[in-house]
Assembly symmetry: C2
Homo-oligomer: 433 residues x 2
């Protein structure tokens, strides 16, 4: 093992040498020679049998959300949830899996895309395929005949999606539905209004709403003389032409004048499903429903692309102030102050170092986009003040609190957070906020 | 089928008769007689074979969240997320399932509680068991050596939990972790501070924090003369005594003076795990980590119980105003006004009826806790005004806008929303908000 450690050290040093040469833009010959040495050393080292080999990946069709992607996701959800709440919706949640029989017979051909759980004894379970069937199960189970609710959650489909176009096997749906017996078309109209409000607020460009009703098609066929027995077959063929589901409302954003390689396609859809709840009710009691679903994954992709294009820095934390010190041995005082600030509701951080350099602390602020630094030193402690500094303008103020740190500093920092114009340096221009 | 429909109608009528008698508090004999008739009719009707028989339930160990429960959940999450953000945390998310091999060998005996997905071709997958292992996988996969993040998501354990005590097979974890090489104990101390801040903010009563370090125990054993070979066995026995994991920090709320039958137990836990990320890194590079996890399901139970005890009404929507009319044929005008209000950012609703009665509209407000009604009638339309009424105080004001509805009404309503004291009738006293 000692020999191995020595070899590992050599590989590391040689690797550093190669990186150094590349940075200095050394001659290709020289780099090649040193890379050769590195490869030889690595071959000598061989694989490390003591380490287990892991495939470091997420399952096919899934992804992690990085803090940057989460910032986009939160922004998009915020727009959508505010709209749903504006329309008086309640919110519910259901488990990620359902009894297999709850989902059976609801998705026709697509049933083969349902993820089943392994039979480990007990009930047979499947991951939810959408939020509509669990909603209908919820209504029937609780004998509800009347609710306006939204539900935002991940659903699962064993599809072979094009992930570059924002399609996944695990993906979010944002559903809004109105269940109940109401006068015709009033809830349907509200669903359309909600779609338009959300797509407008998200500022992802112009969009086109396609509205249809199966009964219009039925009427056209009747006039054409299509016999009753052929109705269903012909309807389904027409459906396939445009991928429009029966009695559905479909929204599409047009491919943006050809300049974007990303074909956006449908970003929202919805429609009426008056028969579904009755399939769950033991007595077959129907609860008419109408709803819509926002295809947020595609919207995330559009917004992320836009942020890339704008080369805009996105803050992934909300920290207002870093508690810093220019001198050594002040860890305890920094901890006291940062605690005071947390208790006063101020978003604050400190470096996890006993004696950090002031330069490093300022650098951290610049990297993380933290706009303010509260600096304490021997003098400040003696005078019972803190020094507050704006990271970008370098403006400084000193403020006297009581001798012991207290809530007062919270208000002081909050005041400058509001006052200095550079305190929110990074915004989401792409989202118009 | 026609005969069946007639029988169903009879059952329905007889059912109504029985309910009516009960309401009128008719004699027990009479009710019994009529119930007898009802049962006979039902027996005649028999089961409806045309309906599929569904077991209407959620899988064992899971539950739906009703709007009321969601209101509690959102409130609790809000407190927790605000605290995590106050401490400068970023946020990430990972898929609900991982490659089976990612989870293998991480949970010892408890591995048998992992939910596996059925092998439907492709990768072998398992539902996440906690958020810590996916976090370590995320760090290793992205070669991150330094991050402070939180993650709130559901995890899955095939346990036999006591559901009445707030334990489920699908349950939320709220994790905050600090990864990176830092000076000793500074991030650890912040984790403790965060736990205390959250449990204090939630106002769920006094709590006791137990802090331990395996090395203290090691020292005690050394002094007692425990031989090296017996260290591990004895440690694990001691662990089981108090269900404390190695090098863990555990929080417990004491059973509240015996008056609450609910034994609360541990509501938060945390600790250091310096070796986990290295298990994923191909070169075994270590990233020291420390973190905490809030047991929110128990906290939900405590808050829900408290709300029950207070018999407090909880609003499950945020609607500020109902657009109503006292006269018929004003659907279109109601739709126009409510659209204006939505566009102005006002949370508004209308009844989905062409010609609703004013009484029904006011009743709806009372049930849903909507504080304001905007009333339009022929006279208001002629004068170009709306009438705004406070549901509880019955106070009324009239406001002139332009002849066509416009944003102005939004500001008008917002003004009274702020001004009238009864506009937020239901609060969460139990959560101190």
């Amino acid at each position: 093992m000692a020999e191995r450690a020595a070899l590992e050290e050599l590989v590391k040093l040689q690797g550093e040498r190669v990186r150094g040469l590349k940075q200095q833009k050394a001659s290709a010959d020289l780099i090649e020679e040193e890379v050769g040495k590195l490869l030889k050393l690595k071959a000598q080292l061989g694989p490390d049998e003591s380490k287990q080999k892991f495939v470091l990946k997420t399952p096919k069709g899934t992804r992690d959300y990085s803090p940057r992607q989460m910032a986009v996701r939160e922004k998009v959800f915020d727009v959508i949830i505010r709209c749903f709440k504006r329309h008086g919706a309640e919110v519910i949640d259901t488990p990620v899996f359902e009894l297999k029989e709850t989902l059976m017979g609801k998705y026709g051909e697509d049933s083969k895309l349902i993820y089943d759980l392994k039979d480990q004894g007990g009930e047979l379970l499947s991951l939810r395929y959408d939020l509509t069937v669990p909603f209908a199960r919820y209504l029937a189970m609780n004998k509800l005949t009347n609710i306006k609710r939204y539900h935002i959650a991940k659903v699962y489909r064993r599809d072979n999606p094009a992930m570059t176009r924002g399609r996944y096997r695990e993906f979010y749906q944002c559903d809004f539905d109105i269940a109940g017996n109401f006068d015709p078309m009033i809830p349907d109209a509200e669903c359309l209004k909600i779609m338009c409000e959300i797509l407008s607020s998200l500022q992802i460009g112009d969009f086109l709403v396609k509205v249809n009703d199966r009964r219009i098609l039925d009427g056209m066929f009747a006039i054409c003389g299509v016999s009753d027995s052929k109705f269903r077959t012909i309807c389904s063929s027409v459906d396939k032409l445009d991928k429009v589901t029966t009695q559905a409302v479909l929204l599409q954003t047009p491919a943006q004048a050809g300049e974007e390689p990303l074909g956006v396609g449908s970003v929202a859809a919805g429609g009426r499903y008056d028969g579904l709840v009755g399939m769950f009710d033991p007595k077959g009691r129907k609860v008419p429903c109408v709803g819509l679903s926002i295809g947020v994954e595609r919207i995330f992709s559009i917004v992320e692309q836009r942020l890339e294009a704008l080369e805009e820095k996105v803050r992934t934390t909300e920290t207002q102030v870093l508690v810093a010190s220019a001198q050594k041995k002040l860890l305890e005082e920094r901890l006291k102050l940062v605690s005071e600030l947390w208790d006063a509701g101020i978003k604050a951080e400190l470096l996890y170092k006993k004696n950090p350099k002031l330069l490093n602390q300022l650098q951290y602020c610049e990297e993380a986009g933290i706009p303010l630094v509260a600096i304490i030193g021997e003098q400040e402690l003696k005078d019972g003040v803190i020094k507050l500094r704006s990271v970008t303008s370098r403006e400084e103020v000193r403020e006297a609190g009581r001798k012991t740190f207290n809530f007062y500093y919270g208000y002081f920092i909050d005041y400058y957070w509001q006052k200095w114009p550079d305190t929110t340096p990074f915004t989401y221009k792409a989202l118009g906020a």
